[in-house]
């Protein structure tokens, strides 16, 4: 478990190539880290992520095979990870941005986005929650998005999956109350990652390292929802109550 100074011993990343998750691991106190599992589909990117963390002298880094869409396999994979030893921190980081226009043209693409971002996350989240409840401690970080706060014309398929995931995570946190485990929901704005390189930069865009700092600090404080950057909370609170006519005229 996390020790008295908040140092974790073991971390599981679902979506092991996520830049935000990897930045978070690099930002965590690592004096006590002895097990870091990066779960994802086998790929050169996943191998690189493993080597990168190993090069930072982080002990016990390994990759495990995990496919968000193959929900039937989630239980066994997550059980195997927890059976070896307790996991202090799970980062649910997988997700795809997709392409809004492609999704509208071919709904199968929309289903793909929804399956990964929502269905896969619900399945993995519930399996993780079961094991956290069982061990009586631990944190689950869920990477949501401000895109779920209010649907926009330009990315509402993605936004709706994050809205669903966000609501799911809120409920899961409530369900875990009193079990020693808790959920931290992270709502980043636009982050400069491989997911967004092709997009024009929005105001308040951050880097994965900035989001990582927000996550680590929120974990230390035991928060349950956090925006990245923090002030986005107020921007989004404003946007959510903006009249539709005005909201739709905002630049996307």
């Amino acid at each position: 478990m996390m020790d008295a100074l908040g140092e974790p011993q073991s971390v599981l990343v679902l979506g092991g190539t996520s830049e935000i998750a990897l930045a978070t691991i690099k930002c965590l106190p690592r004096q006590r880290l002895r097990r870091v599992l990066l779960a994802g589909r086998p790929s050169p990117a996943l191998d690189t992520a493993v080597t990168e963390l190993q090069a930072m002298n982080i002990a016990g880094v390994e990759s495990i095979e995990f496919d968000a869409k193959n929900t039937d396999s989630h239980g066994a994979i997550i059980d195997a990870a927890f059976d070896v030893s307790d996991i202090d921190l799970v980062i649910l980081a997988f997700g795809v941005l997709g392409d809004q226009m492609d999704a509208e043209a071919d709904p199968r693409h929309a289903v793909e986005i929804a399956t990964v971002n929502y269905t896969g996350a619900v399945s993995a989240g519930l399996h993780v929650a079961r094991r956290l409840r069982n061990q009586g401690h631990g944190a689950l970080v869920v990477l949501s998005s401000v895109a779920g706060d209010r649907a926009r014309r330009s990315n509402y398929v993605y936004g709706s999956t994050k809205a669903g995931l966000d609501a799911f995570a809120q409920g899961l946190d409530a369900a875990l109350a009193g079990t020693g485990a808790h959920v931290l929901i992270v709502r980043p704005g636009m982050v400069r990652t491989k997911m967004t390189t092709h997009l024009p930069e929005a105001p308040m865009t951050t880097d994965p390292e900035d989001v990582a700092k927000v996550i680590v600090s929120a974990l230390r404080k035991g928060k349950s929802t956090v925006y990245a950057p923090g002030p986005l909370r107020f921007v989004m609170a404003g946007l959510k109550i903006l009249p539709k006519q005005v909201f739709r005229k905002l630049p996307s």
């Binding site: 020790d3 008295a4 140092e7 011993q9 004096q31 006590r32 069982n134 009586g136 009193g178």
Partner: protein
């Protein structure tokens, strides 16, 4: 894996309140019932918990069945043999209330009496008389233990299982009851000599010179002053004659009362640079340069903090940790070095206690060994603390010292393994007593014990 819901989920943490996990918390009533739980234990295991005074995660175990031993608390005094036979959940507090008026005292008491007999054995607690009398385990004659198969065993100092259990942090089994010796006393007072040392060298040399003349000795160190000045208090049980001369009307009366309860909600900043500084200054000034033969009650001398119930709350919501190490005489310089290091990272200790240890005992995981021990309370929120303590750990280990498991909440598994050289021997006996490793705690998981 299927998981069964806990019937009485309860968040449990140590006295430092810095780590919490949820376990199935079950009141202990009867050994046979505990055996049943042990025999049907799930993968998360079983652990016994006493009064929760260990600072870190020794008496908690996430997802496990944790016995609340305090409901199992009878004891009897045998005045002829000068022994007490007690259920593991009996508190030293309740035992003292009964035996002190009859002219007996426990062989060893920690800085708090709000601990159980089982906990005293599991942590092999030490007190102000360690330099002469050793730790609690040295005075235990017999332990009744439920092992990992649910079988009841009676252990005596002749068996290695006994010495694996002394200081074994509850990981060899559930201690059900024990018999230990008590000592005769004439009064419930201690005749106390107090002297101030102008700096740390002065304090330490005064302790080396004259500790052996007293049954009890401890020094409080001003962690704020760079000099390391301190106050040494030493004493012996007062005789009836001393009490009479001092005009004590009822020298055997013993009725410690709580003075206050710390408030439930304390802001994080209450213990700050200024308040800790002021406290340390006042504490130093309150003691005379030199005073001889002052009579103090047992409570005031041994358990001053027990007067304030739940004083651990003053550290606020993030909790605190206690860093207590032990080093041989040859490494006495680490006392000064560690205080300096902690001052440098900006942690000011509210209460810093220095004590000389006598030789250790046969307990394989027992903490005390001859030399010095320093205990420092520090709030858990200080950012650079982890690294500073890791550096101190390395120095302590290099000098053949170690950390006290009952206080630990942050050392690394390798630090632990390196500094407890009899660990492998202990593991072998634990594997005999508990082949399936039913007994686990958050501490044992964290340190891979």
């Amino acid at each position: 894996m299927t998981t069964t819901p806990l019937n009485n989920p309860q968040p449990l943490s140590g006295w430092g309140r810095a780590m919490t996990s949820v376990a199935n918390f079950v009141p202990a009533h009867h050994p046979e019932e505990m055996s049943q739980y042990i025999r049907s234990a799930g993968s998360r295991g079983v652990l016994a918990r006493g009064l929760g005074r260990s600072y870190g995660d020794a008496a908690q175990s996430g997802g496990a069945t944790v016995f609340d031993m305090t409901t199992f608390n009878n004891f009897t005094l045998n005045p002829e043999n000068m022994t007490v036979t007690a259920d593991a959940g009996a508190s030293i507090d309740s035992i003292l209330r009964e035996i002190v008026p009859l002219g007996f005292f426990v062989p060893v008491t920690a800085g708090t009496r709000i601990i159980t007999v089982g906990g005293a054995i599991a942590a092999d607690i030490h007190g102000k008389n360690h330099h002469l009398d050793g730790s609690f385990g040295a005075h235990v004659l017999e332990i009744t233990l439920i092992d990992g198969l649910g079988d009841i065993r009676v252990l005596t100092p002749a068996s290695p299982e006994f010495w694996a259990t002394i200081g074994g942090m509850g990981l060899t089994g559930v201690i059900v009851s024990a018999t230990f010796t008590v000592i005769p006393i004439q009064s419930s007072y201690i005749s106390v000599d107090t002297e101030r040392g102008k700096d740390l060298d002065d304090v330490m040399s005064r302790m080396i010179e004259r500790d052996d003349e007293y049954k009890y000795s401890v020094a409080w160190i001003d962690s704020v002053a760079t000099s390391g000045r301190g106050v040494i208090t030493r004493g012996d049980h007062a005789t009836l004659e001393e009490c009479r001369l001092d005009g004590v009307a009822h020298p055997q009366d013993y009725d410690p009362k709580k003075i206050a309860t710390a408030p439930g909600l304390v802001p994080s900043g209450l213990l700050n640079r200024w308040s800790v500084r002021a406290f340390n200054e006042a504490w130093y000034r309150k003691h005379p340069t030199h005073r001889v033969g002052e009579l103090q009650g047992i409570g005031g001398f041994f358990h001053p903090l027990d007067g304030v119930q739940e004083w651990n709350r003053i550290y606020g919501p993030k909790g605190f940790l206690q860093y207590q190490f032990q080093v041989p005489d040859s490494a006495g310089y680490l006392v000064e070095l560690s205080l300096r290091k902690l001052r440098e990272v900006g942690t000011l200790s509210f209460l810093t206690v220095l004590k000389r240890f006598g030789p250790g005992n046969d307990g394989m995981l027992s903490f005390p060994q001859a030399g010095w021990t320093l205990a420092v309370d520090v709030p858990a929120g200080v950012p650079a603390l982890g690294r500073a303590l890791d550096e101190l750990d390395a120095l302590v280990a290099a000098e053949g010292g170690r950390l006290y498991l009952a206080k630990d909440s942050r050392q690394s598994p390798s630090m632990f393994a390196r500094t407890y050289p009899r660990l492998d021997e202990w593991r072998e006996i634990r594997n005999r007593l508990d082949p399936n490793h039913v007994f686990v705690s958050d501490l044992s998981r964290r340190l891979a014990i």
